[in-house]
């Protein structure tokens, strides 16, 4: 296609179905894991007896019905089944959840339905069943392509299993993403670049590349505080981040968010909804939702403990234990916190509409002068690469 031709014709609808709107996503949280990884602070629980999936399906369905009552009819733009380890679910369980979403809100043809999975062979054995149930995008927790580091990260798979799972997933699902964790103890730029390039050879259309973060309350936090290992200091971590940005751009999966890289048009539609500050319903233990209802933007947060959540749902029809109506200022802050993570940036006009006041233009000008912010089309601004690296400080400055 020539450059001229593309001006007249509308761009083809991308693979992820993104029309540029914030959208409305459904998030479903499966809270169980076979083992807890030492770096993870997500809401995940290990059970030594088999989980009665049918009992949980019943609770999920009940809570979905209640949420549907709160959101009203909405056009769903994505579904995301996260965890925990959703690939511990039977394919029939996944099928039942998706059928319920379809029944309650409707599932338009071709919308993105993502599920997280672990690369171990047992989980991979269920991939075809998930595809048959309607999942069209898999997100694999690969984390490293190096057996020693996989072991250190507490993963149950090795490199060989990971590569096999990637290959199988590529055959099975139209779209595939996988996660890697970098800035590991002692990891040199050369080592990381080699591993990243190796990963890229196996990548489909999307990769999530996270710098190792020592989260409070994790086993890594205790070990780190006890001086058992060190992670790259901020300067070296910044070098690794810039390296990642350059390599992924070169191989055709440029960054579209702080830690996410995709072939253009293959961004995660569901996660774009979070970053564009769209609406989403959060179903399952410890899930967060944010959607317009009762004339304002509401936050729902459910009980984290799986069995307690299920008991609450059976009793009350939902497991929500925290609710908040967001004021104008809070919404404006959240829009900035999420939107500035995106390479496409954030629309200042929308910020002004939400908060009823304009951001301090002299501050914006100053941050532009420092090379941390830049204008994009119309009323949009975005963080530059250096700006994304110091995003916490940048947003504090902008939102102050």
């Amino acid at each position: 296609m020539s450059a001229l031709a593309s001006i007249d014709s509308a761009p083809p609808r991308p693979l992820n179905g993104d029309d540029g709107s914030p959208g409305f996503g459904i998030y479903i949280h499966w809270p169980f894991c076979a083992a807890k990884c030492p770096y993870c602070d997500f809401n995940s629980h290990v059970r030594h007896r088999p989980v009665d999936q049918s009992r949980f399906v019943e609770a999920f369905l009940r809570e979905m019905e209640t949420m549907r009552g709160w959101t009203g009819p909405r056009e769903v733009t994505s579904v995301f089944i996260g965890g925990g380890t959703p690939s511990l679910m039977q394919a029939g369980t996944v099928g039942a959840l998706l059928e319920a979403v379809d029944r309650l809100w409707g599932l338009p043809d071709g919308i993105e339905i993502t599920m997280e999975a672990n690369p171990s062979s047992v989980d991979a054995g269920r991939f075809r069943g998930y595809r048959a149930a309607g999942v069209n995008r898999l997100s694999l927790g690969v984390q490293a392509l190096n057996d020693a580091d996989l072991k250190w990260l507490g993963r149950l798979h090795d490199t060989d299993e990971a590569l096999k799972a990637i290959a199988l997933a590529r055959e099975t699902f139209p779209r595939l993403s996988f996660d890697l964790i970098y800035a590991r103890p002692g990891q040199t730029p050369e080592q990381w670049e080699a591993e990243l390039r190796q990963a890229a050879r196996h990548a489909a259309d999307h990769m999530s590349l996270y710098q190792l973060t020592i989260e409070d309350g994790t086993p890594f936090k205790a070990l780190y505080d006890a001086g058992k290992f060190e992670v790259p200091d901020p300067d070296r971590a910044a070098d690794l981040f810039e390296l990642t940005d350059a390599v992924t751009a070169e191989i055709g999966l440029p960054a579209y968010e702080v830690s996410n890289h995709a072939v253009p048009g293959s961004e995660s539609r569901h996660n774009l909804t979070y970053w564009r500050y769209g609406d989403y319903a959060g179903i399952g233990p410890g899930a967060h939702g944010r959607f317009v209802g009762d004339g304002g933007k509401r936050v729902t947060i459910t009980e984290r403990h799986p069995e307690s959540w299920a008991a609450r749902v059976i009793e009350h029809g939902h497991g929500v234990v925290e609710e908040e109506a967001l004021g104008a200022g809070a919404q404006g802050d959240e829009l900035l916190l999420m939107g500035l993570r995106l390479v496409e940036g954030v629309d200042l006009a929308r910020h002004e509409m939400l908060t009823g006041r304009a951001l301090d233009t002299s501050r914006i000008a100053q941050l532009q002068e420092q090379g941390l912010l830049e204008p994009v089309a119309n009323s949009r601004i975005r963080a530059t690469l250096s700006g994304r690296l110091v995003l916490n400080a940048l947003i504090a400055e902008l939102a102050a």
Binding site: P234, Y274, L389, V390, A393, L394, A396
Partner: protein, 605 residues
Amino acid sequence: MGAMTETPLKNIRNFSIVAHIDHGKSTLADRLIQMTGSLEEREMKEQVLDSMDIERERGITIKANTVRLEYDAKDGQHYVLNLIDTPGHVDFAYEVSRSLRACEGSLLVVDASQGVEAQTLANVYQAIDADHEIVTVLNKADLPAAEPDRVKEQIEEVIGLDASDALLISAKTGQGVEDVLEAIVTKLPPPKEGDRAAPLKAMLVDSWYDAYLGVIVLVRVIDGVMRKGQTIRMMGTDARYPVDRVGVLTPKLVVVPELGPGELGVFTASIKEVADTRVGDTITEDKKPTAAMLPGFKPAQPVVFCGLFPVDADDFEDLRSAIGKLRLNDASFSFEMETSAALGFGFRCGFLGLLHLEIIQERLSREFDLDLIATAPSVVYRMNMTDGSTTEMHNPADMPDVVKIASIEEPWIKATILTPDEYLGNILQLCQERRGIQTDLSYVGARAMVTYELPLNEVVFDFYDRLKSISKGYASFDYALHGYREGDLVKMQILVNEEPVDALSMLVHRAAAEKRGRLMCEKLKDLIPRHMFKIPIQAAIGGKVVARETISAMRKDVTAKCYGGDVSRKRKLLDKQKEGKKRMRQFGKVEIPQEAFIQVLKVGE
């Protein structure tokens, strides 16, 4: 109790206690109060006389206090013993001297294991100056480490007092305290015979603010009689007040019909502020005044100044009212409004000394819950201008154009330091570094006593802290002001990101400027967090940069994972960041944390 004022003069003893911090002055006072039954058991709280929290915590007395003890002595007679508890710190040397003038004798209390300390010396010399009889008491004599013979020898050598009949006691257990009471009666003289018929002449010893009674004034009557209904006149301030209450402190206020010559007591007279009363002033009856004022009266003179600013600019009014309230009870500090380019509105406050400064700061933050930024303390400089005039400068921000200055004079002190021999080398080095001039060095056993003349501006920074750390807390230090001398002083400015931070500018000796500038830049580099851009920090004299450091730009501060379930937490973190920014001060584009202003002055090595 009705017989209180009828006690004949020969049965009255007015005395004070001279001691170093921690040597047991307050404990002994408590014991005396207890043994003479002045307070019921249930009214005793530890260290009755040190009634402020800070006094009790630090084990020091800030305000003088007094108590009247009733004692039946072994000679079968009844005595009234008036104890004036004096401030034990050099900052309050003038207050001490007035308190001592109100008595005829002192108890010198020395810790039987620690021996004589620098503060003991200064105060005991004042007592000797006031012609006091002195009873020597060795406290904590029951402890295994006590060396009463060595300490007695030391008292004789250092102070020149006969310590052969020193009393060995334990204020804590009460052992020997009875002997102290007897010694007060038998060894200390009664007040000199005054003239009851003469016009009223009384010395204002101290005053304090009471929420119910207003200002209470402690007086020592010399001649004449003070009673309710009299109109009195303060001769120093020429203010008149009708006396509405006369009493004594037991330490509860007990109203008495009158106070006669030789007696120590209090009165109230609808005085609104402590500032209306001046320690050392002469009080007389308005319609029948005494001919001459008592000698030695001088108004409180602030020696050290610093700016106090609220961390949160919104708290300025709270700071104003807090300072006003403190001033009600402490007339010895002064304040006036100050505006700083960097810190906004605040107050320039003057203090009697460093401890006084610390106490006021601490009371403001503790009793009024205020977060404060204190600027670098400054002494009072005398600027001799080229046109022949002289001005006093309290604030380096007010420094006149250097070409108009002919010379600058700075205050000097005479410092006495007592230390175990092993730390002497380090202490001499410290004093030399601070431009000190050694005037005397002598030994008492294994302890060295060294006197130095030092510029006060070298002491206001971290001299105490350094002295404490290099002597592991064993050295004691005291000083007295010792006149003004010309100095080669320059104004050093600190620039953060090219902007001068007025709160950090100071006058320093030219020879020390570069080193101090370098230390401050290094300190600030650690105290100011990284920003999104690099920040030069410079120390400059005039236009010339003498030291420079750079805070490199923050390179990474971003959350790796942020999805739908992370928004609430991130927003709460952002709210915290915003709250934290309130505790920072903005200088141009740079935010400086409040602690930095305090920490940077503690220069250390």
